[in-house]
């Protein structure tokens, strides 16, 4: 199977503390709306965006969890998390939203290589 027009968006920022997470997700959503196949890879602090127990933001700060929940509607169903990223935060896969998939760290180089478009946020 060719991955000619597949896009990988790498999310590395936590919710609330910057707009990087949200604006990265926006790129993923727009690409999906344009018919591209989009996968998301969550590294480092980005993994925190997948915590399912996130409450609504403090007054005035928009939450990103609703956007994460919306990804499936856009056919973005690959939400990949390396095992080491979970471990570094002492998190268990069960604490993440449904749809998050834990992947082995040694698959990352191949994962990044096989997408024609890769962007870091």
């Amino acid at each position: 199977m060719s991955h000619e027009h597949e896009r990988l968006v790498i999310i590395r920022h936590a919710p609330y503390s910057s707009n990087a997470l949200r604006e990265g997700l926006d790129v993923a959503l727009v690409a999906a709306a344009f018919g591209q196949t989009v996968s998301l890879l969550f590294l480092g602090q980005g993994v925190l965006a997948l915590l399912k127990e996130q409450a609504a933001g403090a007054p005035g700060q928009k939450a990103t969890l609703p956007t994460i929940d919306m990804l499936e509607m856009y056919d973005i169903d690959q939400l990949l998390v390396p095992q080491s990223a979970l471990d570094a935060l002492n998190l268990q896969a069960a604490q993440l939203v449904d749809g998050a998939t834990v992947v082995a760290d040694d698959t990352l180089p191949e994962l990044v290589q096989r997408h024609s478009y890769v962007m870091n946020f």
């Binding site: 936590a14 602090q45 915590l51 002492n90």
Partner: protein, 96 residues
């Protein structure tokens, strides 16, 4: 002195903060720093004998870490508690 940290517990800012904490100081964790709740072994929890470490409750909740807070020795405070801490300490130093 009250140290207010808003970066993750293993950040350079956190390490810098810990290198300056003195006996009698207070530490308050806000924003990304509330992630310290996930790290029972974080150095900051025992920064010094009489240094209390507080965590801003609403920032822990919005980040999905309220559950982690239950299992921690951290003192949870709300925004009024934050202000109270600044009443108790005459100097406030933010690490970001």
């Amino acid at each position: 002195m009250l140290h207010v940290l808003n970066k993750p517990p293993h950040s350079e800012a956190a390490a810098q903060m810990l290198s300056t904490v003195a006996e009698g100081d207070g530490i308050l964790l806000i924003e990304d720093a509330v992630q310290a709740l996930l790290h029972a072994d974080w150095q900051g929890w025992d920064a010094a004998a009489d240094v209390s470490v507080c965590v801003l409750k609403e920032d822990a909740a919005s980040r999905g870490l309220s559950g982690a807070a239950l299992n921690s020795q951290a003192i949870l405070v709300d925004m009024e508690g934050f202000v109270e801490l600044t009443e108790q300490h005459t100097k406030i130093l933010s690490w970001y």
